[in-house]
Symmetry: C2
């Protein structure tokens, strides 16, 4: 493995030929996961259109598709724009529906925006798909946040849904719409409940999408970073290429239609140990401090997911060891800080 | 017992003195449950304001408060109107939050309206309450529809949430916001998951709120009515006075704060047997016919709820036998068909 691109690609090329020549729409396509997916889809021979709002506080960044511009289409529009979405979905074979408001804290201070993007726009997208692309396959990126504070570990897909923030409630509604439209209207869709995803092209400007983003920025800038809480909270992490592979499998395999799957990792790690690993990789430091109030209120404690269902059904499992993924991520950003932080 | 008003009242007066002189807002206050609740609250000595949109397809009807007008305030406004809601909640001691889009079929043909009323307006109401009435107690009327097709019977509050229609998804989001605001902001709220409620002042013009409405209308007009499906589907029914009593208990008892409770009934009955009972009470007829397609898709099969949690916590149990409740309902509407059907 020589570059971050090749990792998912080697998996994907071997297993998936469903995407050759297919018309593919990726919502949130200039974001972290969308742009990594786009790189692989292009190499798989797909006709890719990326939709992105480029809202500055979100993950979209034109640097994410640097060099890829001639091989795909970019359409800047908000997923809340019903006319644009209707036009752009027309004739699509696949929709990777990744656009979303992802900040838990922002969802509490501005619940209406979270609702409009994570629920209202999702209904509109599904209604449009039903009208202009009834044969399309949709893969929706949901989140482990919908489970709230785990009642048992690892958390499987049958775990009660008890979100601790507005974002969790709305993401559950958004994914439920996908499942409902699958059951009632036969619109083919699969929901993946992502856990912490990290890797090249993630938002590192601040902690809006994940605390790991700002950790990486601080490390690369040579500053110590903050770990909130006790540092003992357990988490699971997926390197982005593993998530891309799950998205591609979920899109291609008819067994996934109408299903909901957790992602997850064999490696469960405390935030403190993660901080240590990151600092060893990059020679930096960190400090453990109490939660700021607005984060304490919506913290979920320990979390790690049971991903055996997608393993069974689709043969997916995470491949990239955490320490390797962290190294690839730091390597990617080391020479590109201005594109991501200025 | 001589009239429908006295039933809930005799219970409520005996047990509940929390409402004397209190400022109470009832959303959906001109509707079926809201107006029945208002009658009791007025007799309990509360200062009652009813908010209602009077959307013709919904349950609001000025006939529902006939004779009660001098004893309460009516403010006609839509719960989606953020400025009106903010003004009207100011200083409230209790909010009975009953406004909603309740038609399952309408939620499928117009998901955006259902979302705006059952989720968007709920967030707004909670945000307003937090700002202008932080000490208020809110009781929210949710629905058994959120469970979807029962995985076991009777359905308790821990049953998985798997709605089969847009309304079920949105009502779950609406109730989750109430619970969340209770947990995160300490805003006192209780959620009641209602099952089929019937009684005086229900909408009988059509089947928008419940099939039982149109059955009652047909019976009183001397026409046969239609039972969809096999007629073997099991259901539980609550007479409206029992629901009013549950609402009053949930509002008054601090043990209910932050909780979610099913209502339900000891009497479980098939739709066919219910139709037979109704016809015996009123000498009419019915016909069993296949589901219309748009209803078949979202039918939930058998349902009856386990209400032991509210029984334990608040001492609630349903008191009015079905056959008695049907008689009271038919008596009420017999002389009032023009007010409800013209």
């Amino acid at each position: 493995m020589t570059s971050d691109d090749d990792y998912a690609l080697s998996e994907a090329l071997g297993a998936i030929d469903s995407y050759i020549g297919q018309r593919i729409v990726v919502t949130g396509g200039l974001g972290f996961i969308g742009s990594n997916l786009a790189r692989v889809l292009v190499k798989l021979g797909a006709k890719v259109t990326l939709l992105d709002s480029l809202i500055p506080e979100y993950g979209g960044n034109l640097a994410n598709i640097s060099g890829l511009e001639p091989s795909l289409s970019v359409n800047v529009c908000d997923i809340r724009d019903p006319y644009a979405i209707r036009h752009l979905l027309s004739g699509a074979n696949y929709i990777f529906n990744l656009a979303g408001q992802t900040s838990h804290v922002d969802s509490m201070t501005d619940p209406n925006t979270d609702l409009a993007i994570n629920v209202g726009a999702q209904i509109n997208l599904l209604e449009c798909a039903r009208l202009v692309a009834p044969e399309v396959k949709i893969v929706f990126a949901s989140t482990r946040q919908i489970y709230g504070r785990p009642q048992y570990l690892p958390v499987d897909e049958l775990h009660p849904i008890k979100p601790v923030d507005v974002n969790g409630i709305n993401k559950w509604a958004g994914e439920s719409y996908h499942t409902l439209y699958s059951e009632v209207y036969g619109l083919r869709s699969t929901v993946l409940r992502l856990t912490n995803t990290y890797g090249p092209r993630m938002r590192i400007r601040d902690s809006r999408q994940t605390f790991l983003g700002i950790w990486i920025r601080k490390v690369l800038e040579g500053d110590p970073f903050l770990v909130f809480g006790t540092g003992h909270q357990l988490r699971d992490f997926n390197y982005v290429d593993d998530v891309i592979y799950a998205l591609l499998l979920a899109g291609a395999d008819i067994k996934a239609d109408g299903k909901v799957y957790n992602l997850g990792s064999r490696e469960i790690i405390s935030l403190r140990d993660l901080a240590v690993s990151l600092c060893e990789t990059a020679s930096s430091g960190f400090e453990i401090v109490p939660f700021p109030e607005e984060r304490r209120l919506i913290d979920i404690g320990d979390y790690f997911g049971d991903y055996s269902l997608i393993q069974q059904d689709l043969g997916w499992e995470p491949k990239v060891p955490l320490i390797e993924g962290l190294r690839l991520t730091l390597d990617y950003f080391a020479s590109r800080l201005p594109e991501y932080c200025d």
